[in-house]
């Protein structure tokens, strides 16, 4: 790419690029000024790296995620052994390496949490935008549907659903998506309602822009802040939801490791009372991950919407 733009069109493109980056950079500077956000970002990246390195960790320790070490991993009484030089984070009730299972479980938690949140937010954005923009009967029907989904006792329905269809990774994701999209949809609907009679929308309409074009090119870019913040804050909720389903034996099917499964193993017969690492290790990891995402979400909100912070501080 040459430094000097050759045509007016290229110049315009280049200048919008610079502007867009400027706003992004401003946000980034604000985000990086907040120590909690940096720490949580680092923690999330470390956990992602840990999850990606799961096969390497398995190779390094020589322990597979479902491999049982009944000789070295269990005491003669059949009790899991605590952290030692062979099993850095101890073993579980079948003599499996907790460290290796933790790494593979991180893959499940991250996959379910991030994927389910993104799908749920896409659905939430679509339905919220359509409801807010269309108004009338469409809005009434969609809003009532949101109310309906929100008045469902979700954990009870989720366990009924899983019990009938059988637990699996895809069903866990589907259940989480189904019960998570409404929050964002409501926010987006409210924002769209507030925006749709603003002057710039009227202007676009008077220029002959189509409804789709107004929705996606004029209104949606104004909703980037709540979308990013909401989606980030949805991730920890989805991660806990998955862990809860697995904890109740309705999520990821054993012996595939997930943090919820590992905690369920620990709770089974109150085994964790004699093997504290079985609850502290996956529980601590779960807490660290959700805490990091929650802190990052808060940090992003403050960085993307500085007005909200200063208002809070002034009062």
């Amino acid at each position: 790419m040459s430094i000097l733009p050759k045509t007016p069109a290229a110049a315009a493109r280049a200048s919008t690029e610079v502007q867009a980056r400027g706003s992004g950079r401003l946000t980034l500077t604000r985000l990086l000024r907040d120590p909690a956000s940096i720490a949580s970002l680092i923690a999330i990246l470390l956990i992602i790296a840990f999850a990606l390195c799961a096969p390497l960790i398995a190779a390094w320790t020589g322990h597979g995620p479902t491999e049982q070490f009944r000789e070295t991993g269990l005491t003669p009484e059949g009790i899991p052994v605590g952290p030692n030089s062979e099993f850095l984070l101890g073993t579980d009730q079948l003599g499996r390496d907790v460290l290796v299972r933790l790494a593979y479980g991180a893959q499940v938690s991250l996959l379910v949490g991030v994927f389910a949140s993104i799908v749920a937010s896409v659905i939430g954005i679509a339905i919220g935008t359509v409801a807010g923009f269309s108004g009338g009967v469409v809005d009434t029907v969609l809003s009532r549907t949101m109310d309906l989904v929100m008045s469902v006792p979700f954990l009870l329905c989720a366990i009924a659903l899983v019990s009938v269809l059988g637990p699996s990774l895809s069903l866990s994701i589907a259940v989480i998506v189904f019960f998570s999209w409404t929050g964002l949809a409501r926010v987006i609907r409210g924002q769209v309602l507030a925006l749709r009679h603003r002057e710039f929308v009227e202007a676009a309409r008077s220029l002959g822009a189509s409804r789709t074009s107004i929705m996606f090119r004029d209104i949606l870019p104004n909703l980037v802040v709540p979308i990013i913040v909401y989606t980030t804050l949805m991730i920890p909720a989805a991660i806990v939801f998955e862990a809860t389903l697995s904890f109740l034996g309705l999520g990821i099917v054993p012996p595939t490791p997930s943090w919820g499964n590992m905690l369920a193993d620990a709770a089974n017969g109150s085994l964790y009372l004699v093997a504290w690492w079985m609850v502290v290790v996956p529980g601590g990891a779960l807490l660290a991950l959700t805490l990091a995402f929650n802190l990052l979400g808060d940090g992003l909100r403050d960085a993307l919407d500085p007005a909200a912070v200063s208002k809070g501080k002034r009062a």
Binding site: R144, D147, L148, S151, V152, P153, F154, L155, L156, C157, I159, A160, L161, V162, S163, V164, P236, V240, A243, T244, F247, L248, G249, L250, L263, A266, A267, S270, Y272, L273, W276, V279, V280, G283, L286, L287, T290, L291, F293, N294, L295, D298, G312, K313, R314, A315
Partner: protein
């Protein structure tokens, strides 16, 4: 006013109707055969056909559904496939445990969350505010079952190993038997539930109070020389309350499902743990009953919140029209 309440009731009935269709359809498409569950693996084909016809399972689904709703309206929820007890009796016997857990927990989470929120809002940016916000974000992030297991380990197991019993292991003692034992056995579950939920209330209270405390009438009250405590707790807190009431309605409504995990961790035999057992045993009528009960809970608490709102605030009534 009447019209508003009627429209809310109509919506509640719709929610319950759709929920009942959902659970009913769900079990209709289920690959498992109730006759097999009741009769066991070695049952003959004739016996299973007999059971199916007794339960009405050989009839078309619409007919089954109508019969189910008819019985439901008379308070008959059928019999458990596993224990042959009436489902209503089974569920009702578990309700006191869950109610004790939910409402006791509620007292604690309100008593912890609201004061933290108020103190944070009174001194924004201070050390106390930071501590309060730190508490809130950790509480929101903490999965209930992890907190419960840690609490049991640290407050029951470790002290017991050291030779004194700070908290009992688990179980439930009816209030009528011994109120003291009841409270002692429930204290850890209450605190576990409360710490997690209180975080939400601390945040909500802080946000609301910050907004209210910045308003003109608060300045007027201060200018008049009203005592600062009275300004905070009477003038400001009263206006900050409505969103808290809404949140409380939602939380209480969803708690029947929400305490499942706590019941599991602390070995409390409440409605939630009954649901988990019933699901594991494919005990269809029990699962249907509990899901519907959960729905009733949500709907009734929403109705109470909406009606209170409408009584307090005429704008809500007009908006509904």
């Amino acid at each position: 006013m009447t019209r508003f309440i009627l429209s809310r009731i109509a919506f509640s009935v719709l929610v319950l109707f759709l929920l009942s269709v959902f659970v009913f359809m769900l079990f209709y498409v289920s690959p498992s055969d109730p006759a097999r569950i009741i009769a066991g693996d070695k049952a003959t084909e004739e016996l299973m056909a007999q059971i199916r016809s007794n339960l009405g399972l050989d009839r078309p689904i619409t007919e089954q559904y109508v019969a189910f709703i008819g019985n439901l309206l008379q308070g008959d929820l059928g019999y458990s496939y596993r224990s042959s007890m009436p489902v209503s009796e089974l569920v009702v016997s578990r309700i006191p445990v869950t109610m004790s857990l939910v409402f006791g927990g509620m007292v604690f989470w309100l008593a912890i969350g609201i004061p933290i929120g108020i103190v944070s809002a009174k001194h924004p940016g201070s050390v106390r505010d930071r501590l309060g916000q730190g508490f809130a974000i950790v509480g929101i992030s903490f999965p209930t079952f992890v907190l419960g297991m840690l609490a049991l380990y640290l407050l029951y197991f470790v002290p017991t190993k050291l030779g004194f019993m700070l908290f009992p292991p688990s179980g439930y003692v009816p209030f009528g038997e011994s109120p003291l034992q009841w409270a002692w056995h429930l204290l850890l579950p209450w605190l576990t539930l409360a710490l997690v939920v209180a975080a939400v209330y601390a945040r909500l209270t802080r946000g609301q109070m910050l907004e209210v405390l910045g308003q003109d009438y608060i300045r007027t009250a201060r200018a008049k020389g009203v005592d600062e405590r009275r300004v905070t707790y009477v003038h400001a807190f009263r206006s900050a309350m409505p969103p808290l009431v809404t949140q409380l309605g939602i939380d209480i409504g969803l708690m029947l499902g929400g305490v499942i995990v706590i019941e599991q961790v602390f070995g409390l035999l409440g409605v939630g743990s009954l649901a988990v057992t019933a699901v594991a045993m494919q005990d269809r009528p029990v699962v249907i009953a509990i899901v519907l009960l959960g729905g009733v809970f949500v709907v009734v608490s929403n109705l109470i919140v909406d009606t209170t709102y409408a009584l307090l605030d005429s704008r809500v009534r007009t908006a509904a029209r």
